[in-house]
């Protein structure tokens, strides 16, 4: 009889348990309390904050819990902190948005919390089955959230497209996973790594790795698996677009790192060229497509595709410096991207999406604070010092150079320069154009707080990146036994 769970397991799983309980409480509160969006939002915020507190007791742990299905280590902790921060900012952003749209708050926050739960599991999972269930929990919540504003036909299109392509990509991912299971007889990533290391290279293993890579590339919207992203990002409610582009991508990247660096590191001759190609295509296509967009949400969608390309450079490098740079970039990207979407939410009115380029025209006159915040986010997205985006890119490209991959670094730099073109265009609209078509933005306390946090983080990590880097370095080292990364060097 296989062993069950012990008290120690439940103690280590406290964050997940707290989050699940809060999500369920939210669903009950929605029925019992009078329908007040703000009350429900504060329950959601309290639940997320309590989850963050529950992370503290096992902050320095390095354990395998639940019969080796989940790891509680610094790597998981790092990502969990990012997910919770992103979820907190998303809820703050959503309060006003839901009131304007007149949408139901209870289920909305419940789904946001469930998506976060899926992400927590994905970051900690060292077993394919657990990873898959976590991924599904997150993805299903997002399918529904994308179509949450039912009267909007674009939201419906977004939800259906995301659901169909998501299900399709999941089938590909599962096929790859089942081949890996067939080759090794295990779903545990660490046992799998040991088994594969003793096997000669085979085309079947290469095929399995390719299928898993393709399935995960869908989730992080890497080119050529990115077609769904612009439509879904444009159609989904703006706070969800923000959460989707930050939380869901970060979670998929965490799972990607776990699978490829802990599960199949010995097959790196197969997956490294694959990710090299994906990184180059993703950067280039994302940036070139973003240049021609007139809708800011679409532009940010393509730009977020490009940013995934930059992040993949760290995986191609495969060194501990590369993974550290990836972790840093995930944090940096989270704040600048969430911040940029917050400004769009700010311009949102019932009859106005607030995402047309013209809506930003003359924003500096209407709301100097919002325009300044957007300026900071755009500079950071473009990688201009002294913002955090510069430090992040500097380290990613540095990781490629360290591995002697100058071509990849140069392509990255060229793409960075290219991206400044469309970010600068938006800045020109905000600061130079005089005619205003957009609405008069009213900065509510919640949105003001979101913007302030995002601006502070973006500038702080740009000016004093040392603390973030040392956290990321420790977290990257926790991945696997550390021997994995050494073998790759």
């Amino acid at each position: 009889m296989p062993p069950g769970l012990e008290l120690r397991d439940f103690a280590a799983l406290l964050p997940e348990i707290v989050l699940t309980v809060s999500a369920l409480l939210l669903l009950v509160a929605d029925v019992l309390l009078p329908r007040r969006g703000r009350v429900l939002a504060s329950i959601a915020l309290a639940g997320l904050a309590a989850t963050a507190v529950a992370l503290v007791p096992s902050a320095n742990a390095h354990l395998e819990v639940a019969n080796g299905l989940l790891a509680v280590d610094r790597f998981a902790l790092f990502f969990k902190a990012v997910f919770l921060a992103a979820a907190l900012l998303t809820v703050l952003m959503s309060i006003g948005y839901l009131e304007v749209e007149g949408a139901r708050a209870g289920e909305y926050y419940f789904l946001v919390l469930c998506a976060t739960l899926g992400m927590l599991v994905m970051a900690g999972s060292i077993d394919l089955i657990t990873s898959f269930v976590g991924l599904e929990t997150m993805a299903l919540s997002f399918y529904i959230l994308a179509g949450f504003i039912k009267p909007n036909p674009r939201a419906n299109e977004a939800a259906v497209k995301y659901f169909l392509l998501g299900a399709f990509s999941l089938a590909i991912l599962l096929y790859g996973m089942s081949l890996l299971y067939g080759l090794t007889g295990t779903t545990g990533l660490r046992v799998m790594a040991a088994t594969l290391a003793g096997q000669p290279a085979s085309p079947l293993a290469a095929l399995a790795v390719m299928l898993v890579a393709a399935g995960m590339a869908f989730k992080i919207a890497a080119v050529p698996f990115h077609m769904w992203a612009p439509d879904v990002y444009e159609g989904a409610p703006t706070p969800i677009t923000a959460f989707l582009s930050v939380g869901s991508k970060a979670a998929a990247l965490a799972m990607l790192l776990r699978i490829f660096l802990e599960g199949v590191p010995s097959l790196d001759a197969d997956w490294r060229p694959l990710f090299w190609l994906l990184a180059v295509l993703t950067m280039t296509v994302g940036n070139v497509a973003a240049l021609t967009q007139s809708n800011v949400k679409r532009m940010l969608a393509y730009s977020s595709i490009a940013h995934v390309g930059y992040v993949l450079i760290g995986l191609v490098a495969g060194s501990s410096r590369g993974v550290t740079a990836m972790l840093v970039y995930v944090v940096v990207y989270a704040f600048m991207q969430l911040g940029a979407f917050t400004v769009i939410v700010l311009l949102h009115r019932r009859d106005l999406a607030g995402d047309a380029l013209a809506d930003f025209s003359g924003l500096s006159r209407r709301s100097p604070f919002a325009a300044f915040a957007m300026l900071v986010f755009l500079m950071s997205l473009g990688g201009i010092p002294p913002t955090a985006g510069f430090m992040g890119k500097f380290w990613l490209f540095g990781a490629a150079v360290e591995q002697g991959d100058y071509v990849l670094a140069v392509i990255g730099v060229i793409n960075s320069a290219l991206s400044i073109g469309y970010y600068a265009r938006l800045i020109v609209y905000m600061y130079v154009k005089r005619e205003t078509t957009g609405s008069e933005p009213v900065v509510s306390p919640a949105l003001g707080l979101t913007l302030a946090v995002a601006v502070t983080a973006t500038l702080l990590f740009g000016l004093y990146p040392r603390q973030l880097f040392s956290y990321a370095e420790v977290s990257a080292r926790a991945l696997g036994t550390g021997a994995v990364l050494r073998a790759l060097r």
Binding site: M1, P2, P3, G4, L5, L13, T20, A23, L27, A66, N67, L69, L70, R104, E107, F110, L111, C114, L117, G118, V121, D127, I129, T130, F132, V133, G134, E136, T137, L140, S141, Y143, I144, G147, F148, K150, A159, Y181, G182, L183, T184, G185, T186, T195, Q199, S202, P203, L204, A205, A206, L207
Partner: protein, 168 residues
């Protein structure tokens, strides 16, 4: 020997039914062929000694999913001739070419790979049945994903109610 014969008979049936699913002109027939396909796959599982998976295959796929398909087919009333669904850009032909390429690739990979089947981690005890074994594993070793799946189902339920109700 008997097992080998059984496998090839079932494999042939599965392929034939799969072919009929995509070539049948009547959508309802297509769904019924799909059910036959699912049943043959279930028989294959029995042959492998996986009774539990076989029963689930029949209950969920041949049962629930086929009913769902039939329901949708009857709901949307596909009376138009198949010709009216032809795509003008001829993407169907491209699909056939790509599918053939993938098939060739898979066969090549399977042919070139000389991989011994991986040792199965837990041997099924002959006394306790397969189903009992799966139950034990679900509630001990895989308790966490099992519990998480219940949250997943809750999300699906909330979503289904939310999206299908006109006004709550």
């Amino acid at each position: 020997m008997g097992e080998v014969v059984g496998f090839y008979v079932l494999a042939t049936l599965i392929l034939v039914f799969a072919g009929l699913v995509i070539t049948a002109r009547n959508t309802t027939h297509s769904v019924l062929f799909l059910m036959m396909d699912f049943l043959s796959v279930a028989a294959l599982y029995v042959l492998l000694g996986a009774e539990f998976v076989a029963v689930i295959q029949i209950l969920v796929y041949a049962g629930g999913i086929v009913v769902l398909y039939l329901f949708v087919v009857m709901l949307v009333n596909l009376k138009r001739p198949p010709e009216s669904y032809r795509d003008p850009r001829r993407q169907g032909k491209l699909g056939v070419v790509l599918a053939a390429a993938v098939l060739v690739e898979m066969v090549a990979v399977a042919g070139y790979s000389r991989v011994a089947p991986a040792p199965v981690a837990a041997a099924v005890s002959p006394v306790v049945g397969n189903t009992e074994e799966v139950g034990w594993l679900l509630y001990t070793q895989y308790l966490i994903p099992f519990e998480l799946a219940s949250m997943l189902l809750l999300v699906a339920m909330v979503g289904a109610i939310l999206l299908s109700k006109r006004e709550l």
